[in-house]
Each structure stands twice: as structure tokens, then as C-alpha cells.
Symmetry: C2
């Protein structure tokens, strides 16, 4: 069995966990199935009521002709880019240097699809219209991630998105949305999923991030695009005989949580405010534009780790289960606000952050 | 929603269904989860007790160093072939013209992996040692499917398998087993999974065929091979945050049904015998070597279909939910014997086949 870090173990023991919806446990799926008639027939290789109804519902929500359910976003996005590259006959795409495709997929785009990515913008900022205008080469597709997770979940102004979309359309460049956290940014933009998606030719959304499903993704676009994506889904080995465990839970938790995104955003702003009041601690962005942000702490990981463990033990509050190094003298972690925050006693949270603030001052 | 054929609908209405374990319904997963502690933690991107324990158990069973759980066999097998091709530096493999890779995966091996398959043997017979010896070109890997599904689930003599394995090893050709139905053939060979697998460098097994799980596959081999397969699993988009719905059900139904394979084989032989006693009906193989066989009926599909529907309505027995054309004057279908056969009143089954036999004589 995999070993857990001491910090992860200490986090696990806390009574008051701050981020997320809850533990990833089997009960999350059982709760879903308890709502379902046991005689309901499984989907079969992409057909059947369960999968077709959900796909139609998501296509409607995103304002696209069709949608298809995928086991993972990794699969859905590579396939989207492949289709656009094949269509234009140019095996080049552009995305952010910290896109999921670049840092979490073992170079799959090159190894499986022979597509060359062009990295736009610096690692620590968003892609701007200017970057797109200065593209050195012809590309088939530009991928924009909303929000840009690896820099704390930042967002361009909606007007900049519109300008990028217009520029791409004029030049025949397809625009693809990595909308893994699309639902989470709708309160900030104050626009519907369909309004945001209308700027894009293809859209991927995820069901185990803000929605808190078990796994799975939707890819949406026009009818031809989606039909072709089903051929590629089979090629990738994603056309399983039964995807219903993921689809039913995606649908269930979407209904449970889609209406709470505004609250998560408010909570994220409140929590970020508490962090930013501490010495040597800053969130990125300072004011979150979704339910997520990054916490940067001016202390090396090896020093902060035992401190956090002590904090968890003394206050019962769990702030994070992990730390990553961010330079020599500081470290960072990601916070996604979910259902847990609403039931968290806020005085206990403040107590824990005051404890941390005091230690940061002393050291 | 997808429309069902009239035959499928008539089959659905029958009380006494002959093939398979049962309907593909949500209850199959709920039954599994009802046995599990709800607090059990999900696997996480390939790590955690649920996935690691099951992989270890399957590696032991197959007598291989390591095993990895995949969402699908399509994904597992392409990856196995890619690894062997990369290792030898030759992007060519050989398999049967009716291999799953050739007829059900939309040319994925070429489109995703740039691997050229060489088709061995004729469509209507097994690959023999002679075919391998006469290979026109250098290949990295030979894939053998045990049993060869598309020709009714036929098997080579174990001695021929041994000879092919020896020949390949002497020439540095890797031997991969499509063992989607490996458990189903162990009674016939009278050998353990590990004994059969020892002839192969890599082995894929499935959990939703004879085992009747929800979906999912295991790929097993040596340690380096499996470590590399995990990199490819991520590239393919198969490294899901949670695969536990499939793993828990694979484990549960494996325990339920692994011990019944001998019975399924006996039942398949009995059922094939009943079919072969009918006019104009023959099974392939005549005597099944696993729980599966094909039924060939000397009557065109458009003529047989209404006849079968009438048979189902009059006898309440469901023989098959579909027919495929096999030439101009006959048609065929596949039978996999599972749990249903044991509880089927045999006099009703005989009645149905006698009804069919009589009609076949009359026409």
C-alpha cells in the first residue's frame, strides 16, 4: 500500500477539515445508487438511456449541438485537439506552459497524437490576446483553461476572452475550453455556461472537481465534431461497456452542487481573506475568482510541515494535506472550497490561523 | 434513446433467458457496494489499497511480477503492443484477422501508435506454429487470443501453444495473450492461469465477460513492462482518480464465479448438444472448449428473425437477442453460458429447441 506523508496523516486525523467536499470514499457512490432503481439498464458502449439523456442535458447546458461522456478529461482533450488538427491539416496547437496536457499527461499529445504544442505566455501569468496575435507559427487550435489552475485559478476579463475568440475565428483557429472548473467560475463572470461556451468551438467539463462526482468528463461541440470524438473515444479505449457508475454520480452531484457555486465562491473569498491577514502568508489570486486559490507561505517546506502538524493536533483544524516547495524559502498548496466550509465552526478556523500567524511572527 | 430490434425486444420479454449471467442493470453494482464498508477510501490515480491489493492478487494468480488495472482491454492491449514495439524498435506486430484490435478498435493501433499489424492465418481458423514460422517480416510481438472468439471460441492444443511460445522466445518475439476469456478456458486445458500465462510475456484479462463484472481489465507482466504501462495508461486517459467501481466489482464477481467455470463449460457442451440435434443448426466448435460457442442456422436472417420471435412468445424461452448474417442463406449468433443456465428449466429449453427444429424441418 502507498505510504502517506506525516502531514497527510495528521490532516486525516483532524475533526475540522477546511477544503473540499469530504473524503473520497465508497459511500459517495453508494449514496448515488441508493437513489436509483436497481432495474435501470446499464449504458452499452455509449448507447442507452443513462448516457444519452445525460449527454443531451449537458449539450443543452453548454449550448452545443452534442456532447459525449468520457471517462477522463485527459482523453477528452487530446481527442478534441486531434480532431481540430486533423481537420486543418496542421499538427500544432497552443496552450499555457502549465496546461494539464503539458505537465500531467506524460507528453501524450506528442507520443500518441504527434501534435506539437506551442507554449504561450509565461508560467506565472495568463495568456493574453497579444500572445495569440504574436503566435510564431500556424496552429489548428488554441486551448484556454478557465480558470488557469496552476496559477491559483486566475481568469482573464470576459472582454479579453471575447477578443481572443473573435481573433481566432477570423483566422480559422479553433478555440477549445479546458473547463474542468467551468461551473466554479460562472458566478464571477455572471454568465451562463452556454454564454461562456459560445466563445469556444469545443468545451470539456469535469465532474469530480467542484461537482464532486466519482470521475468522468463531458466534451461538447458541433455534431460532426462529437461524432468523430466517439470514434477516437473507442480508439483510446474509453468506450467502456458500462460508464454508468460515473454518469449517475456526475448527474447526482451536479444536481446537488451546481446551485452552490456562488456560495463556494463567497466562502473562498472569506477564507482567502483570513489567510491574507496572517504574517508571511498570501493567497494567489489575492481575491479568488472561483472556489479555488493557492496559499503561499514564506517558510521552507521542511520547516512548515512540522508546524502544520502541531497546529492540526492543537486546534483540530486541517488546512491542507500536502505542501509543495515554491522556491528555496517558501512553499504552497491549493485550496478548493466545497461543502465542508459551510459546516466548519468559523471560530475554530480563526483560532487555527491565529495560531499559525503567531508562529510565523515568532520565526 | 437507442432503438432496440424487434428480436432484442422479444428476447427481453422472455421469462427463461438462456445465455449470460443476467441483465446488465445498476443492481449488479449495488450488490457489490452493499458488501463494502462505506468508509473505505477510494483509489487515487492508481494508488491506494483497493487498486494495489487487487493488482497484487491478479499478478499472483497469473504468475507475473506485476499487474495493473485498466478501464478497458482496448487500452491495455494497445499499450502492451506499443511497449514491445518500442523495446525492439520494430513497429510491427502479428495477430489473427479477427482479433479485437483489427475489427473493433477503429484502427487505433495505426492511428494512435503507428504500429502495423500483420494478419496471420485465415479468418476461419486458428493461428498455427507454421503461420508464425512463415512470417514474412520481422515483428516485435505476436498476439494470441485464447479462445479465438470470432470463430466460436476455438483453442489450439496446449502443445501447439508451447511450441509457438518456444519459437517466439528463441527469436526475441514477445508473445502477448488476449486472455479476455482466460478463466473460461482453464477447465479445458486443465491448467492454472499461471501455467498458461507462463508461455506469454504479457497477459490481458477481462472482468466483464465470464466474470460478469461492470467493466475493466488487468494487464500483467514483468516489473519494467508494468511500470511502463502505467505511463501509457496515463497518456491514454485511463489513469482515473477513482477506478474503484470497476475494481470492487471485478473482485466481487471474480470470487463469485471463478469457481464455476467448469460448470459453465459442462453446460455449454450440453447446450451445444441440444442445438446440434436440430435440423439445419450447427454449433462452432461442435463441442465447445469454454463457456462460449457460435450457433449457425441455415436460414436467412430476415426469415429466422420472425420465427425466433414466435418461438420466444410461444415458449417463453429466449435463445438470443440478435442475429448476424453469415452468407446469403444462413445466420449466426454467439452464446456465452453463465449463471442463467443453471436455473433454467431444461424441459422448457428442450421444448423451445424442438419447436425450432420442427419449423426448420418444415421450411
Amino acid at each position: 500500500m502507498s505510504k502517506q506523508s506525516a502531514l497527510a496523516e495528521a490532516f486525516r486525523q483532524t475533526v475540522y477539515k477546511v477544503p473540499g467536499h469530504g473524503d473520497l470514499i465508497v459511500q459517495n457512490l453508494r449514496t448515488v445508487l441508493d437513489q436509483i432503481d436497481g432495474d435501470l439498464e446499464s449504458d452499452r458502449y455509449g448507447s442507452g438511456k443513462i448516457i444519452e439523456d445525460f449527454q443531451d442535458k449537458m449539450a443543452d447546458l453548454l449550448g452545443k449541438e452534442k456532447a459525449v461522456f468520457f471517462p477522463s478529461g485527459t482523453m477528452a482533450q487530446q481527442i478534441a485537439l486531434r480532431i481540430w488538427c486533423d481537420q486543418r491539416g496542421v499538427a500544432k496547437v497552443a496552450y499555457h506552459p502549465l496546461a494539464h496536457l503539458e505537465i500531467h499527461e506524460n507528453d501524450a499529445l506528442r507520443e500518441l497524437h504527434r501534435i506539437e504544442p506551442i507554449l504561450l505566455a509565461d508560467k506565472d501569468r495568463l495568456i493574453r490576446l497579444e500572445d495569440v496575435m504574436n503566435l510564431p507559427e500556424e496552429i489548428s487550435c488554441l486551448l484556454l483553461e478557465l480558470p488557469q489552475r496552476e496559477i491559483g485559478g486566475q481568469l482573464p476579463a470576459f472582454e479579453e476572452l471575447e477578443a481572443i475568440s473573435k481573433y481566432c475565428r477570423e483566422r480559422g483557429i479553433k478555440l477549445h475550453m479546458d473547463g474542468a472548473r467551468l461551473f466554479e467560475i460562472m458566478p464571477y463572470y455572471g454568465r451562463s455556461a452556454a454564454e461562456i461556451s459560445s466563445l469556444f468551438d469545443s468545451v470539456y467539463i469535469s465532474f469530480y472537481k467542484g461537482i464532486g462526482g466519482i470521475a468522468g468528463a463531458i466534451l461538447a461541440g458541433d455534431s460532426d465534431f462529437i461524432d468523430t470524438s466517439k470514434v477516437w473515444k473507442r480508439r483510446h479505449g474509453g468506450d467502456l461497456i458500462s460508464l454508468y457508475p460515473y454518469i449517475l454520480s456526475a448527474d447526482y452531484y451536479f444536481q446537488q452542487r451546481n446551485g452552490k457555486m456562488q456560495q463556494y465562491h463567497e466562502d473562498a473569498k472569506a477564507l482567502a481573506g483570513l489567510y491574507n491577514a496572517c504574517h508571511g502568508i498570501a493567497t494567489r489570486p489575492v481575491e479568488p475568482v472561483s472556489n479555488m486559490f493557492h496559499v503561499h507561505i514564506d517558510m521552507p517546506k521542511h520547516q512548515l510541515e512540522p508546524l502544520l502538524i502541531q497546529c492540526y493536533e492543537e486546534t483540530g483544524v486541517g488546512l491542507t494535506s500536502y505542501l509543495v516547495e515554491a522556491g528555496d524559502t517558501s512553499c504552497a498548496y491549493e485550496v478548493s472550497v466545497g461543502d465542508r466550509y459551510a459546516i466548519l465552526p468559523k471560530e475554530r478556523l480563526k483560532e487555527a490561523l491565529q495560531w499559525l500567524d503567531k508562529k510565523m511572527m515568532e520565526l
